[in-house]
Amino acid sequence: MKNEKIKKIKGDVISRDKYKEESWIYSEIVRDHFFNPRNVLLDDTHYEAGGTGTAGDPACGDMMTVWIKVDAESQKIKECKWRTFGCASAIASTSMMSVMITENGGMDIKKAMHLKPQQILERLGGLPDRKFHCSVLGDIALREAINDYLRKYESSRN
């Protein structure tokens, strides 16, 4: 029986790069997605989204809006664009999420509904506990967008 108590280091847990002199504040992957965010929607005036969702609140320091385009036949997410007001973790989380659901031909929307913040965090190489909510918000915004799409899809079929 494994009796190791994995000691939780409270405070700034970052990545394995923690003790390198020139280390950044978060993981290298987060850094990449922060300085080079993928799938940002620069102009939403002409974008015809299948579904839109928003999560967060400027008063809380993080807010993100997500737009998705779904292939009607395969029910896979073809495109995911977003905009975020928030810290580096929030921007990187939304960027990574947009990559995860559109890579490899796109995620099935049923599977995307089950996307967990833990999965986003894993791909990001981890974030300090106090930044966990950034990934949660991305997740919530996606779910809102999918539900929005499903509502529109249902009503267009009827």
């Binding site: 922060f34 300085f35 940002v40 008063a59 320091g61 993080d62 007001f85 106090r130």
Partner: protein
């Protein structure tokens, strides 16, 4: 990569002259000031000399200066030390809502121990409401602690007016004692005790081009204090522990130098600061200055920029070699932004979008101009990906 350091309110470099004066005490002059042999006596002389120098600047007596390990420790010693010394005379303490966490957390801890704390409000520029202070003073008030100048927004409190109010209230008695945290004021404002009218004052070395890890507490000889750290009787039994001679020497030298340069340097910085503020407000739309525009530390620029978040701004500036800090929630476990900004009534979303630039002795107009080239680009980039739309004014 060019590095432009604009976080002097957090800490400063150690002036090379100061470092030189410290070094002998890290090398051959290593005696313990409590030793009675020659090595010890030399070390003792050094710290007494440092003490006397600081006393001269404050216009106080050397015996009224206690050396500690930091500004935070001095604040703790003041708050806990005075509260406990006078607890049978009263249990009410007044602090402002924008005090440094060292003061606020000490007050909160005393609250849990049964003391009553009044947290004074500040106005939208960060100045405490004097009428509220007057109303809060009671028979059982033993301590009032209000910081001289705020580290985040730079607002300077009317300390001598506050002292007048307290002295008028206490008539010929000693209580309440008036403490001020002056860590940010050193080098910029007048520290003379008789001018300020305070009974107790905190100072530290890390913001005046001296070393980190050292501070002091001025405490008027009339005021009682219960020590926090006990042991070998150092610092007149007010703070035990082998004194860090090098740091103490460095601290005193730094304060001396800061005082010498104070008037001219404040003038120079004020000009740069005002230039910087004017250009930011002009060139970046939807931006605002936090804190008082005039009653403000000469080197402090704290702005909120609409539609973007502080940590993102800070990290992008960091990439360009520009080092600043932010009032956003990025470092607090509580997800709350700066308590100081919120206390001035600033909307949380603007508190999350705040940046603090604090200029220093080596800051030049050229550096500021460079920052003014980079900052708008960063704001623009973050605004293009931001989910907040700002109305065009």
């Amino acid at each position: 990569m060019k590095k432009i350091y604009l976080d002097h309110a957090a800490t400063t470099y150690i002036d090379p002259i100061i470092l030189k004066k410290m070094t002998p005490y890290l090398k051959g002059n290593f005696g313990n000031p409590s030793s009675l042999n020659l090595m010890g006596r030399k070390a003792k002389a050094a710290i007494e000399n440092a003490r006397a120098n600081i006393a001269v600047i404050l216009k106080a007596e050397p015996k009224e200066i206690i050396f500690t390990g930091s500004g935070t420790e001095s604040d703790n010693l003041a708050i806990f030390g005075i509260a406990r010394a006078y607890r049978n005379k009263g249990k009410h303490i007044i602090v402002s809502k924008i005090e440094h966490k060292a003061v606020l957390e000490s007050a909160k801890k005393l609250e849990r121990e049964g003391f009553k704390i009044t947290y004074l409000n500040v106005d939208s520029k960060g100045i405490i409401k004097l009428s509220e202070l007057k109303k809060s003073l009671r028979k059982d008030t033993i301590l009032v602690s209000i910081m001289y100048a705020n580290n985040e927004i730079g607002t300077i409190q009317p300390i001598s007016e506050i002292a007048k109010i307290i002295r008028k209230f206490r008539k010929n008695n000693l209580l309440p004692v008036f403490h001020t945290d002056a860590c940010q004021a050193a080098g910029a404002l007048d520290l003379k005790i008789n001018k300020l009218g305070v009974d107790v004052m905190t100072l530290n070395g890390s913001k005046i081009y001296g070393p980190k890890g050292v501070g002091c507490l001025y405490i008027s000889e009339d005021v009682k204090l219960e020590p926090l750290i006990v042991g070998g009787g150092q610092e007149n039994s007010m703070r035990a522990g082998t004194e860090n001679v090098a740091l103490i020497v460095g601290f005193a030298e730094a304060l001396k130098l800061a005082e010498k340069l104070r008037v001219k340097e404040s003038q120079r910085l004020k000009k740069l600061r005002n230039y910087f503020i004017k250009r930011i407000l002009k060139e970046i739309s939807n931006s605002r200055l936090n804190g008082h525009p005039i009653k403000r530390l000469p080197n402090n620029v704290n702005v909120s920029i609409g539609g973007v978040e502080g940590e993102s701004l800070m990290l992008m500036l960091d990439k360009e070699g520009i080092f600043v800090s932010t009032g956003s929630a990025c470092t607090s476990d509580s997800l709350d932004p700066s308590h100081v900004l919120l206390a001035t009534g600033l909307l949380p979303e603007l508190a999350h979008g705040s940046l603090r630039f604090t200029l220093g002795r080596k800051t030049t107009k050229k550096e500021i101009d460079y920052v003014l080239k980079i900052l708008p680009k960063i704001v623009y980039k973050l605004r293009t990906i931001s989910s907040i739309k700002l109305r065009k004014l």
